[in-house]
C-alpha cells in the first residue's frame, strides 16, 4: 500500500532544500560582487534579485524544521531532484533579465544546461554578454559539475547524508565519511583550478597576445567549463576562437581530468598508481576512446574535408575527446560539424553516448557500465560455449577485486537501457518536427549525455516541446534517473496514497 506523505515529510524536504538554497545564495554573491567590481549595473540588479530569492527561500525552508526526523532515502532523493529543478529556475533570472533571451523558457534552458554541465545554449549574441553574466553561466557549470548538494554537504558537515550524495549520481565514497569525501573532491578541484587558470592565462597572455586581465578571464571561464565538462565558452566560436594548439592541449588536459572519477584522482594522488590501469573502467574508456577516434578519423578521411593528416587528426581528436568526456567544446562551427557525415558523425555520436567515468563531472552511460555490460555479455557467451557445469570467472578489477553479481548486472543494464530510451525519446520528437534522423539523434544524445555539441538544432526558433524535452533529458541524464523516479514516486504517493 502506498503511504501518503505527511506534513512532517514536507518539512524535512523543505528544511534540507532550504539549507542548499542558502549555500547557493552565498555562492551567488560571487557574480554579484563581480558585477559590482566591473561596474556592470544592469546585471548587478538581476544578481541582487536572484540572491534575494535564494536567501528568502532558504530561510523559509530552514525555518520549516521538523522537531526530529531522519533523512530517509525517499526524502533525500526528492531533495536532490527538486533542487536540480528549482536552482535553474531561480538561476535563470539574471540570464533572462539580460535581454539576451527571447523568452523566459530559453533562459531556463540555458540555466538547466549550465547546471547539468550540458553546454547547449540558446543565448543570443554571447560575444556582447556582460563579463559578470558570463561568469555566472560558467560558474553554474562549476557548481553543477561539482554538485550543488556536494557543496552543501561540505559546508553543513554531518547533516547531509549518503542519500543526498548518491542522489546526485555519485556512488563512490573515497574516504570513510561523505563530508571528508566532499572535501577531497573540492581539494582536487582547487588544485586543478590553480593549474588550469594559470596555464590558460599564461598561454592567452604570452602566446595569444591578449591583455593580462582578459587572459585570466578566458582562463577562468574555460577552466570552469572544461574541468566540469560543461562546454559553455565566453566567445561564440568556442575553443576555435583561440586558434592555438597549445591552448587546445591545456583545455584537453582539463577535460580529461574532469571526465576521470574522483576515485581515480585519489589513486593517482595517493597511489598505488599501477592499479589505476588495471581498473576495468580505465581500460574501457581507453578502448572506447581509441575505437571512436579511429572511426572518426576514417570517416573524416572519407569526406575529403581535410587536405592533410595533421589537420584531420587535430580536429578529429579534439572533437572526439570533447564528446567522450561530455564537455562539448568544439573547434569547428556547428554547420561544419553537420557535414561530418557517415563514420565521422557516428564516431562523435557514439563517443557522446558512452560518456566519461562514473562519479565524475561527465555524463553519458559511463565507462564502468559499458565495461561491465561487455563483461557480462562475454561471460554469457562463454557459458554457452563451455560444458554445462564449467564455471565462468566473474571477477573484475575496479579499485580492488570485485565480482559481477546478477544484481549488479541488472542495475547496470537498467540504467544503460534508460539512457538508450532517453536518447531515442529526444530523437523521435525531433524527427516528428521534421528534423533529419542523423541530426535529431545527435542533438538528443548531446542533451541526454550532458555533452553540448550541436549541429544547429538547438536554436531560439526551436519548437517549445522539443526544448522542454531536451531540458528533461539534461535533468534526468545528469541525475542518472534514480532521483527523478523517486521524486515521481513521491508525487504519485502524495496523490494516490492513503
Amino acid at each position: 500500500m502506498l503511504i501518503r506523505p505527511v506534513t512532517e515529510d514536507f518539512k524535512v524536504i523543505g528544511f534540507y532544500m532550504g539549507r542548499i538554497f542558502l549555500v547557493v545564495a552565498a555562492a551567488s554573491l560571487l557574480p554579484l560582487t563581480w558585477a559590482g567590481l566591473a561596474r556592470e549595473s544592469n546585471p548587478f540588479g538581476s544578481f541582487l534579485l536572484m540572491t534575494g530569492v535564494f536567501a528568502l527561500l532558504g530561510v523559509i525552508g530552514v525555518r520549516l524544521a521538523p522537531r526530529e526526523s531522519e533523512l530517509d532515502w525517499s526524502h533525500g532523493m526528492v531533495v536532490v531532484a527538486l533542487t536540480w529543478l528549482i536552482v535553474p529556475m531561480i538561476g535563470a533570472i539574471p540570464l533572462f533579465l539580460s535581454g539576451h533571451f527571447g523568452r523566459p523558457l530559453d533562459a531556463l534552458f540555458d540555466a538547466m544546461s549550465g547546471l547539468t554541465t550540458t553546454g547547449l545554449s540558446l543565448l543570443s549574441d554571447v560575444d556582447h554578454v556582460a563579463s559578470s553574466l558570463n561568469f555566472w553561466r560558467h560558474f553554474l557549470q562549476f557548481l553543477g559539475g561539482q554538485g550543488i548538494i556536494l557543496a552543501a554537504l561540505t559546508i553543513f558537515a554531518g547533516t547531509g547524508g549518503i542519500t543526498l550524495y548518491i542522489g546526485e549520481a555519485r556512488d563512490e565514497r573515497i574516504l570513510p565519511s561523505v563530508t571528508s569525501t566532499a572535501r577531497f573532491i573540492w581539494a582536487v578541484s582547487v588544485v586543478h583550478l590553480i593549474f588550469g587558470v594559470t596555464s590558460l592565462g599564461l598561454v592567452g597572455w604570452q602566446v595569444l597576445g591578449f591583455d593580462l586581465d582578459r587572459s585570466l578571464f578566458h582562463g577562468l571561464m574555460v577552466f570552469f567549463a572544461g574541468f566540469d565538462t560543461g562546454g559553455f565558452s565566453p566567445q561564440s566560436t568556442s575553443i576555435g576562437y583561440y586558434h592555438s594548439a597549445i591552448f587546445e592541449t591545456v583545455t584537453a588536459l582539463l577535460m580529461v581530468a574532469g571526465a576521470m572519477s574522483f576515485g581515480l584522482h585519489y589513486a593517482l594522488w595517493r597511489g598505488p598508481r599501477r592499479s589505476v590501469f588495471a581498473n576495468l573502467e580505465t581500460r574501457t574508456i581507453l578502448s572506447t576512446f581509441g575505437f571512436t577516434m579511429v572511426l572518426t578519423i576514417l570517416g573524416l578521411a572519407a569526406t575529403g574535408l581535410f587536405v592533410d593528416v595533421a589537420g584531420l587528426t587535430r580536429q578529429g581528436f579534439f572533437q572526439v575527446l570533447s564528446a567522450h568526456t561530455g564537455t562539448g567544446f568544439s573547434t569547428v562551427p556547428p554547420a561544419e560539424l553537420a557535414k561530418w557525415g557517415g563514420l565521422a558523425f557516428g564516431g562523435v555520436a557514439i563517443a557522446m553516448a558512452l560518456g566519461g567515468m562514473g562519479s565524475s563531472t561527465a555524463g553519458g552511460v559511463k565507462s564502468l557500465r559499458i565495461g561491465l555490460t561487455i563483461k557480462a555479455v562475454v561471460n554469457q557467451i562463454k557459458q554457452v560455449l563451455l560444458p554445462e557445469h564449467a564455471l565462468v570467472g566473474t571477477a573484475y578489477h575496479q579499485s580492488g577485486r570485485k565480482h559481477l553479481t546478477p544484481a549488479l548486472i541488472q542495475s547496470v543494464m537498467v540504467i544503460s537501457l534508460l539512457y538508450v530510451a532517453l536518447y531515442l525519446l529526444g530523437a523521435g520528437i525531433g524527427m516528428a518536427y521534421g528534423i533529419p534522423l542523423q541530426e535529431a539523434l545527435f542533438e538528443s544524445v548531446s542533451a541526454s549525455a550532458n555533452v553540448g555539441l550541436s549541429v544547429g538544432v538547438t536554436d531560439p526558433s526551436m519548437p517549445i516541446l522539443l526544448e522542454l524535452v531536451y531540458m528533461l533529458q539534461m535533468w534526468a541524464g545528469r541525475l542518472e534517473f534514480v532521483a527523478v523516479f523517486s521524486m515521481l514516486g513521491f508525487v504519485y504517493a502524495w496523490v494516490r496514497g492513503k
Binding site: L49, L71, I162, H243, E336
Partner: protein, 185 residues
C-alpha cells in the same frame, strides 16, 4: 589623330583592368561558413564587426573575430532582438593595418565595423585544420562606439527587499536551543 586613338585604347584597357580590391568576391560571413571548402584559397571581401580580443602575436599578425550577424547593425543593448547565436569567422590581420582600430566589440561596446579583403584559408595545412581569413586590406566603415547600459531599478529594489525580508524572518523566527532539531543521516 593616331595619338588620340592610342590614348583612347589605353584608357579603355585601364578601365577593364580589375582593381585588386574589386576583384575579390563579395560574400557575407554566413556564406563563408556555409560554402567553406568551395571558397578555399579564394580572395573574398567581407564586412562585419570585430569582436572579442585583439591577439597580437609575435609573428606580426593580429588575430580577432569578425561577426556578420544581425547584432552588427542592431545590438541587443540598442533594442535589437535576441535572434540566436553569433555568426563569426577568425581573421588574421597584418599588425600594420590595425593601428587605427577602436576596441573590439564586447559588453557595452560595439566594435568597429570593417570591410576586409583577404584569402579564405579553409583547413589551412600550415595551421593544421584551422579556417580563417588572411586579411590583405582593411577599411573601417563604422568606428566602434559605446552602448548604453540602463540600471534595472525594479530588480535592485526587489532584490534588496527580499534580502531584508529574509534577514527579518531569520531573526524573528530564530529557534531557542531546546527547539533546535536533531538529525540523523
Amino acid at each position: 589623330m593616331r595619338r588620340l586613338v592610342r590614348l583612347t585604347f589605353l584608357a579603355s584597357v585601364f578601365l577593364f583592368i580589375p582593381d585588386p580590391a574589386n576583384a575579390a568576391e563579395e560574400v557575407s560571413v554566413p556564406e563563408i561558413l556555409e560554402l567553406g571548402a568551395e571558397l578555399a584559397g579564394e580572395e573574398v571581401t567581407v564586412e562585419g564587426e570585430l569582436v572579442g580580443d585583439y591577439g597580437f602575436r609575435d609573428n606580426g599578425w593580429m588575430w580577432t573575430q569578425l561577426n556578420g550577424d544581425a547584432y552588427v547593425q542592431r545590438p541587443i543593448r540598442e533594442g535589437g532582438q535576441a535572434l540566436g547565436a553569433n555568426v563569426g569567422i577568425a581573421v588574421r590581420v597584418p599588425v600594420e593595418l590595425t593601428e587605427a582600430l577602436d576596441p573590439p566589440g564586447r559588453y557595452r561596446n560595439r566594435g568597429p565595423v570593417v570591410r576586409v579583403t583577404g584569402v579564405w584559408k579553409y583547413h589551412d595545412s600550415t595551421r593544421p585544420g584551422e579556417s580563417y581569413l588572411q586579411v590583405q586590406s582593411l577599411t573601417v566603415t563604422e568606428p566602434g562606439r559605446q552602448l548604453n547600459e540602463e540600471v534595472n531599478w525594479t530588480a535592485v529594489i526587489l532584490g534588496a527587499l527580499l534580502l531584508v525580508g529574509a534577514g527579518v524572518i531569520a531573526l524573528l523566527t530564530r529557534p531557542k536551543d531546546w527547539q533546535r532539531p536533531t538529525f540523523r543521516c
